[in-house]
């Protein structure tokens, strides 16, 4: 438990007091890289505030958040109704903060010189299970008559959830797809197979640009600009931090840290391969934070 009391003004005799305390967060591993960057920077600024962040997944994070074990929870999807209910039951009030976009990127093998662009409908046709074996030529007759090899994030991931929401719409994913919780594994898989296609977070594409091709969606190519502007639609999803109001009121350090998060998320998102939100979103978040008094 890292939520033992934080004493903001212990050195109140001095003018510039030193913040201290323990802050605990947990949640999505997708949010982890940006969170790590933020924590790393914050540790330089406030040496005595000890922030620890786990990566138990969005659900696991909420579980702890509900139990009152954490001060904030990272999520790669919006909170679910079940979780809301449990939070209500536990009497935990929270504030939802958006901190960055993760561009969900559809990628193909470097040697794939045909699939440069796909429409949302194409994607749907490819990825929804309908009992047939899918070939590239099914999408466009000029494309090779070879079986498509699918790679996708594990079904228990926020990325998958999001894909589900925008593409599958509660139909099932192609059964032949190779699923992995580890996105690096997907990268490796797609690199190794000419007929492969897959999707994962933009950060993983960003780190492997040299060896993978990203597919444009409806002629919009994924890059930080198109994602930030929302043009790369509907494949950019927001990443969230849920913070406990009670803890915010109680812990000076938490408020300080959250301010830091809002102020620096844009920069850190760029740094670790995510995409910053429009400035207005951060201002909105700031307002929300300030309203918790």
């Amino acid at each position: 438990g890292g939520n033992d009391g934080s004493t903001g003004k212990s050195a109140s005799a001095k003018e510039d007091f030193v913040l201290s305390g323990n802050l605990a967060g947990d949640g999505s591993s997708t949010v982890a890289p940006i969170m790590e960057a933020l924590v790393e920077e914050y540790a330089q600024a406030e040496k005595d505030v000890k922030v620890s962040v786990g990566v138990s997944g969005t659900g696991g994070g909420f579980e702890k958040f509900i139990a009152g074990e954490t001060d904030f929870s990272n999520a790669s999807r919006p909170i679910k109704d079940e979780e809301k209910e449990k939070l209500d039951d536990a009497g935990v009030e929270y504030t939802e903060l958006k901190i960055a976009f993760d561009g969900l990127t559809i990628v193909v093998n470097k040697e794939n010189d045909w699939a440069k662009n796909l429409t949302v409908e194409d994607i749907e046709k490819m990825w929804v299970e309908d009992g047939t074996t899918k070939k590239w030529s099914d999408i466009d007759p000029s494309w090779p008559e070879e079986e498509i090899i699918f790679y996708a994030p594990g079904t228990d991931s926020g990325t998958y959830d999001y894909f589900n929401e925008v593409i599958l719409q509660d139909s099932d994913l192609v059964k032949s797809a190779t699923l992995s919780e580890d996105d690096n594994v997907l990268v490796t898989g797609i690199k190794g197979d000419k007929n492969a296609i897959g999707f994962f977070g933009y950060a993983y594409y960003d780190a492997n640009k040299d060896s993978l091709n990203a597919v444009s969606i409806n002629d919009i190519e994924p890059n930080s600009k198109t994602i930030e502007s929302g043009e790369y639609e509907p494949f950019s999803r927001p990443l969230f931090v849920y913070v406990s109001n009670a803890a915010l009121k109680e812990k000076e350090a938490l408020r300080n840290f959250m301010d830091f998060v809002i102020d620096n998320s844009a920069e850190m998102a760029d740094a670790v391969g995510y995409v910053r939100l429009p400035v207005t979103e951060y201002d909105e978040a700031k307002k929300q934070l300030d309203s918790v008094k």
């Binding site: 438990g1 890292g2 323990n22 605990a24 967060g25 947990d26 591993s29 982890a32 890289p33 969170m35 790590e36 960057a37 924590v39 790393e40 914050y42 540790a43 000890k50 922030v51 620890s52 962040v53 786990g54 990566v55 138990s56 696991g60 702890k64 139990a67 074990e69 580890d182 996105d183 690096n184 990268v187 977070g201 950060a203 993983y204 960003d206 780190a207 492997n208 850190m268 740094a271 670790v272 391969g273």
Partner: protein, 290 residues
């Protein structure tokens, strides 16, 4: 010489040599495999083995990422695991070997220990989460993880200690009792000094298991993003295998090298511990060799 017998015997000897060669090759292959494994895992990480790996906390920059928190965390974890598991383990072994009368309860305890030894580590994680983290309000502290790991290796320590105590020759016990020593005196002054070497051997091997176990830590939800060192047993922390697991999942390929470097560090710790275990074993064996 009788030719027939000679030929038959020679044929049997050839068969024996073939089998020896076969068995020997199997053993040799195993060794090669280990070398291969070490090389395969470690090769990528050698480049990242520098001082900053040990003095830095985790970082978003692969070249700056370090193990400081994980290393200290693992050491702190062991600071809980070693005394707790050894105390309970040795006490149990002494009880079972020296005091227990064969009744249903001790038979049940023995059965229970052997079963516990076979419980998958991930299940121990679930135990730790429910009992230590939640019911005892220890959260994901060093203490919670330490107790979980202690329970996990406890059966190994008990069994190893039981064997060590059993291998103390009876004539030493006889000598001690014959002098009028009580049971407890015999245990503390004869049996323990004679068996502590082997007990340490078994314990060290089980500690190396505790150092490398990942699944229970994952289930406990041990954090990986930490920029500070633990301050006490109730502090949150991270541990080597968690850190390695996390790095290995990062998008940037450079992090894979950092993970490899972390694995090298972990393996070096294990090899060192095994070396100590072997040292203690040899010493213990020498001690009882009369």
């Amino acid at each position: 010489m009788d030719n027939n017998l000679l030929i038959k015997t020679n044929r049997r000897i050839v068969k024996d040599s073939i089998m020896k060669w076969l068995f020997g090759t199997a053993s040799f292959l195993l060794i090669v495999l280990i070398a291969f494994l070490f090389y395969g895992i470690g090769a990528d990480g050698v480049g990242r083995l520098n001082l900053s790996l040990f003095t830095n906390f985790g970082s978003r920059f692969p070249e700056q990422a370090g193990l400081k928190a994980a290393l200290v965390g693992t050491l702190s974890l062991m600071a809980v695991v070693i005394p707790v598991s050894m105390f309970i383990g040795i006490c149990s072994a002494i009880y079972l070997e020296e005091y227990a009368v064969k009744n249903k309860w001790t038979a049940f305890i023995e059965m229970n220990i052997s079963n516990l030894a076979g419980v998958p580590s991930v299940v121990f994680g679930l135990l730790g989460l429910t009992v230590f983290s939640r019911a005892l309000f220890l959260g994901n502290s060093i203490l919670a993880a330490g107790l979980t790991m202690s329970v996990l290796i406890l059966p190994i320590i008990i069994v190893a200690s039981q064997e060590a105590i059993r291998s103390v020759p009876d004539n030493l016990r006889e000598a001690s009792y014959g002098m009028g020593a009580t049971k407890w005196q015999t245990i503390t002054q004869v049996i323990m000094p004679s068996s502590i070497g082997s007990i340490l051997t078994g314990s060290i091997l089980s500690f190396s298991r505790a150092i490398g176990e990942t699944a229970p830590l994952i289930v406990l939800g041990i954090p990986v993003i930490i920029q500070f060192l633990p301050t006490g047993p109730l502090s949150t922390f991270t541990a080597l295998p968690m850190q390695i697991y996390d790095w290995a999942k990062r998008p940037q390929p450079e992090f894979a090298d950092v993970a490899s470097a972390g694995i090298i560090v972990l393996l070096v710790i294990l090899v060192t511990m095994n070396a100590f275990a072997i040292y203690f074993r040899n010493k213990a064996m020498k001690k009882l060799q009369n």
